[in-house]
């Protein structure tokens, strides 16, 4: 699908790509710097050049691959779920992050350093390329633009990015929200699920709330009191429960709408749908309370 140049859809997708690049690209610059730091002075410049070249080549290859992979049925859904996980990971506070990354295994030779950089880029660039592929909605121009924007960030922009996010941490929250939105739109665009969504349009809203409640959980959990923390699990679990009944109803041709129910079994099923989650939620809350009480006791001891 090609979007019209400078249309609202094109500019929106481009903005999403820039934001995704800001929060996800740039890891390579860090790895290249860390690996090159452990080499002799003479080899450092060579490793930085070839490492950057390798990182860009790997990213370009993955970007081309992702265009084709996202057309395969099922991958759009998998990519959407992966983006939800990436958004959640992005927002999860990580106080020991700097210390962990400083302890990267040192590379002793030029070849080992180059190998480390290329392998690290292949692993760490997946999230970036996947997110760009999802935000671009299959537009080759946008994928190329996304790649073109991420390359300067890899090569020169790491300092700029770190200054920006340090000054405005809300960029990361916005990046997480955009990743979640991209993940949601990938899930609802999945070709395998498209006929199902046609018949169950209302489930789109349930999926949107589910995606946001899972991916933004680190954010809103930081604002919740200790007593309200179980909501982080209960809200997505309740949405999955409701969704499961809809899926089961269409799969096994069951009647779960009480307005259309005619037999006692259908009424029972409807009762289970709306009230069945209550004992499970109560059991979860009781278990959570027990675990909290035990941890309090052990902390006091």
């Amino acid at each position: 699908m090609e979007l019209e140049f400078f249309s609202a859809a094109f500019l929106s997708a481009l903005f999403a790509i820039v934001l995704i690049d800001l929060v996800l690209a740039g890891d390579n610059a860090l790895i290249i710097g860390l690996v090159a730091r452990n080499l002799p002075k003479g080899q450092q410049r060579k490793v930085i050049f070839w490492g950057t070249f390798g990182a860009i080549a790997v990213r370009a290859a993955m970007a081309i691959l992702v265009v084709y992979i996202l057309n395969v049925p099922g991958f759009m859904l998998a990519g959407g779920i992966a983006l939800v996980w990436i958004a959640r990971k992005l927002l999860t506070p990580d106080p020991d992050a700097a210390a962990q990354h400083a302890a990267q295994a040192p590379a002793v030779s030029f070849a080992a350093a180059l190998r480390t950089i290329v392998v690290a880029d292949a692993i760490m660039g997946v999230d970036n390329v996947l997110a760009i592929g999802g935000a671009a909605s299959g537009s080759i121009v946008l994928i190329v633009l996304g790649l073109a924007i991420s390359v300067p960030i890899i090569v020169w922009g790491s300092h700029l990015v770190i200054t920006l996010v340090d000054r405005y941490p809300s960029v990361i929250l916005l990046g997480g929200a955009v990743l979640a939105w991209t993940g949601y739109s990938m899930v609802v665009r999945e070709p395998l699920l498209a006929p199902w969504f046609e018949g169950h349009a209302a489930t789109r809203l349930v999926i949107a709330i589910l995606v946001f409640s899972i991916s933004l959980a680190p954010w809103y959990s930081a604002r919740l009191s200790a007593r309200m923390k179980p909501l982080i699990v209960l809200l997505p679990a309740l949405l999955i429960w409701m969704l499961a009944f809809d899926v089961a109803a269409s799969h096994w041709k069951l009647q779960v709408d009480y307005l259309l129910a005619a037999e006692s079994g259908e009424y029972l099923l409807e009762g289970l749908r709306w009230l069945g989650w209550l004992p499970l939620a109560a059991a979860f809350l009781w278990l959570h309370e027990q675990i909290m009480a035990r941890s309090r006791r052990s902390a006091r001891a």
Binding site: P169, S170, A177, W181, I207, A208
Partner: protein, 113 residues
């Protein structure tokens, strides 16, 4: 992701974010959810339901239905306007309520009635 986690402030963005920035992003997220609600509701249902039903829901669902298939830039703009509105209310509402509160009985500017 590794790079931004190098900054202690960015790694704890959920705690270090400014109230204004947080309000803006929260407003954008609300607009995203409303837009997905617009996508989930079939406008044809309103036509079938009849005019009286539509009139009752004029202020609610109709405004959300207008957000169907909105793009990110539109959502950001709407989120910005919503955040600005909430910020104005947060500042203006206490001032408005302060005017309505009666002055103390012994205040010098109290008008005897």
């Amino acid at each position: 992701m590794l790079l931004i986690h190098r900054s202690p402030r960015a790694a704890n963005a959920v705690r270090t974010v400014s109230p204004g920035g947080e309000l803006f992003v929260a407003s954008v997220v609300i607009c995203m959810i409303l837009a997905s609600f617009g996508d989930a509701v079939d406008p044809a249902l309103f036509g079938e339901a009849g005019l009286e039903f539509a009139l009752f829901d004029l202020g609610g669902e109709f405004s959300v239905l207008a957000m169907r298939h909105w793009h990110l830039l539109q959502l950001l703009l709407a989120g910005g306007i919503l955040a600005a509105g909430i910020a104005v209310l947060r500042v203006g509402a206490p001032a408005a309520f302060k005017v309505l509160r009666p002055a103390p009985c012994r205040a010098i500017d109290k008008v005897p009635i």
